[in-house]
Symmetry: C2
Subunit: 323 residues, 2 copies
C-alpha cells in the first residue's frame, strides 16, 4: 500500500473577511489536486469560531466546515485570511485559540491583513513577515517584535508564511505547492488560474512611496509640501534647509525624525511617485516626464525608477497606464 501524503490545509473564517484572501489559496490547492495523484491530494478544511454562517466583506455568505474546537489534529498549514474583520475587529476567542492551533501545525500563515490576527495572538514576534502594502506601518507599530517587510509578495520565515495584498495569497499558495510537489505542478496551476509564477517588483509598484503630504504648519511639513508642489525643481539638503529657515544639520536631523526618511530620499520618492502618475495617466514621452519630475534626464529617471519600483518606466506604463 502506498503511503498517504495528504496535506491538510485549514482556513480560518470570520465575519468581514475578504473573500479573495480565502478563495485564492483554496482554489490553488484544489486545482493542484486535479494534477496530483489522489494519495497526495490537499485536504481543505474551513473553521470558524462559532458554527454559523460567516458573512464576508463583499456580502458573500460562507458556511464553515466546523468550529475551532472540532478541528482534528494534524494540520499541515493553518491560514488566516485578511479583510476589515481582521484588522478592524478584536477576536478574543480566535486569538486565544490560535497559539495552541499553531503549535499543532507544521506551518501557519496569513494572507494580506490576516497578519493582524496572528500579531494579536502574539505569533509574529521574532519573525520576518509581510502584509498588504497599505497596512505595513500599522502592523509594524502593533507588533514591534516582528520585522515587517514591505517589498515582497510573500515572506517565508521558518514555519511562518505571510503574504501581501489580497491576490498575493495566490502567489503564496503557489509557492507552497512548488515546495510540496515541485515547480512544474505549480506552474501548471498558475497557467490554469491565468496568473504568472513570478511577479516583478514585489508589492512596491502597487503602493505610493509617500504618504499624503501633511499640510499642517511645522517647518518640515511646509518643506514637504513645497517639494511636492515644485517637484520639477532641483533640491539639495542645503536648499531645503533654507526653505525651512534652519541650519542644514538641524534640518536634516529634524526631517529624518519627523518623516522617517532623509530629505533626499523624500525628494526621490516624490519624484518617482509623480512620474508614476504621469505614466499612468498620460502618454507623454519619458523625456518630458523626466523633466516634469525633476529627474534631469530620461536616463537618470529610468535608472532611479527601476531601482526603486522593480519595473522599468515602460513596464510600469504597460501594466498600469491608459489604453
Amino acid at each position: 500500500m502506498r503511503e498517504s501524503a495528504h496535506k491538510t490545509v485549514v482556513m480560518v473564517l470570520f465575519n468581514d473577511m475578504l473573500m479573495l484572501d480565502v478563495t485564492g489559496p483554496m482554489d490553488v490547492f484544489s486545482i493542484s489536486n486535479r494534477l496530483l495523484p489522489e494519495h497526495q491530494h490537499y485536504r481543505l478544511l474551513t473553521v470558524s469560531e462559532h458554527q454559523t454562517l460567516v458573512r464576508s466583506s463583499c456580502g458573500l455568505k460562507v458556511q464553515a466546515d466546523m468550529t475551532l474546537k472540532d478541528l482534528p489534529a494534524g494540520t499541515d498549514l493553518l491560514l488566516v485570511p485578511g479583510g476589515p474583520g481582521a484588522y478592524g475587529v478584536a477576536h478574543p476567542g480566535l486569538t486565544a485559540w490560535l497559539p495552541t492551533a499553531v503549535k499543532g501545525a507544521r506551518r501557519f500563515g496569513a494572507i494580506c491583513t490576516g497578519a493582524f490576527l496572528l500579531g494579536d495572538a502574539g505569533l509574529l514576534d521574532g519573525y520576518r513577515c509581510t502584509t498588504h502594502w497599505n497596512y505595513v506601518e500599522r502592523l509594524a507599530q502593533r507588533n514591534p517584535g516582528s520585522r515587517v517587510e514591505t517589498e515582497q509578495i510573500y515572506v517565508i520565515d521558518r514555519n511562518l508564511i505571510t503574504s501581501g495584498g489580497i491576490t498575493a495569497g495566490i502567489d503564496m499558495a503557489l509557492a507552497v505547492v512548488a515546495e510540496d510537489h515541485g515547480k512544474d505542478i505549480a506552474l501548471e496551476v498558475a497557467k490554469v488560474l491565468l496568473v504568472v509564477m513570478k511577479r516583478q517588483g514585489g508589492q512596491t509598484p502597487y503602493g505610493p512611496l509617500l504618504a499624503a503630504v501633511p499640510r499642517d504648519d511645522t517647518a518640515i511639513a511646509r518643506v514637504q509640501a513645497y517639494i511636492v508642489d515644485h517637484i520639477e525643481e532641483p533640491f539639495t539638503v542645503q536648499r531645503m534647509a533654507e526653505l525651512a529657515a534652519m541650519s542644514t544639520r538641524n534640518f536634516a536631523r529634524a526631517f529624518q525624525r519627523e518623516v522617517n526618511l532623509t530629505p533626499m530620499q523624500y525628494v526621490l520618492n516624490a519624484r518617482i511617485d509623480h512620474s508614476r502618475k504621469l505614466l499612468e495617466g498620460s502618454d507623454l514621452p519619458l523625456k518630458v516626464i523626466a523633466c516634469r519630475c525633476g529627474f534631469g534626464s530620461a536616463r537618470h529617471m529610468r535608472k532611479a525608477f527601476s531601482e526603486r519600483i522593480g519595473l522599468t518606466p515602460n513596464q510600469y506604463r504597460q501594466q498600469f497606464g491608459g489604453d
Copy 2:
C-alpha cells in the same frame, strides 16, 4: 435629493462553481464601494436555482441570497461563473431561466467556463466571446453561431462581456468599473487587490500553442510527431511531404484538414512551445534555446516569439521561469 446611481450586480451560484470566478468580480465591486460615494455603490446579489447551500469545486460552501424566481427587477450586470459545474453538468432550470433574466438586465456575462452555461441557454449566438484558454475549442464546437476568441483576457461585445481563465474575472470587473466610474477608481482598486490594470499578451502566454501530438499511425500524425521530436531541424513543406511520402500539394491539404493549421504554422507553434519549456525550466542563454528549437538565430526567435506570445522571451522567463 441626489439621484441614486446604484448598479446591481447579480452573481449566479451553482454546485461545483469555481470560487475565484465568483469572488474575483465580487471583491472588485465591493472594494470599489470603499472609493465611491454611497449613492453610487454597487449592490451585490447572489442567486441560485434552489435556495440551499451551494458547494463550490474547492469545497467551500456558500449560501445564496435568494432563488432565481425571487430576483428583483433591474439588474445592471448578470454574471455566471465557471467551474466543473458549468462545463460538465447540464442545468436545465438555470438555462431555461437565463434568457428571460438576461432580457431584464442591462448587461450580462460570464467568467471563465461560465460561458458554457450562456451557450447552453442560447445566449452566445451572434456574439464575439471568450472563455478559459483550455476550453476555447470546446466552447466553439458547442456554439457554432458565436465567435470564440482565444487571445484576449476579456471580450466586450455590445451587452455581453466574457472573460478568460479564472482570475480574468478580476480584469473583466475592473474594466466594468473603469467604464462605470472612470479609470482612476479602477486603477485604485487594482492596486488594493495587487493586480495590474493591463495584462500583456492576453491569454496566449498561459496555454500551449499545440495540443498533445497524436501518436496514432496516420501519415500526418507521424509527421507531427517527427517535427516535435526533431524540432531543432529545419523544416519545409516539401521536406515534411517527403516524410509523409505524399506529394507536397496533397500533404499540405491533408495536413490543414486534419490539424487545422498549415504545416509551417504547426512547425512555428512547435518551436515556440519548446522554447517556452526551455525558458521555464532552464537558464540557458537565448542563443542556445533558439538553436535547440530550430530558430536559426536568437533574433529570429525573439521576433517570432514576441509576435505569437505577446511577451518577449525575457519577459516570459521573468514571469514563468525558475529562480
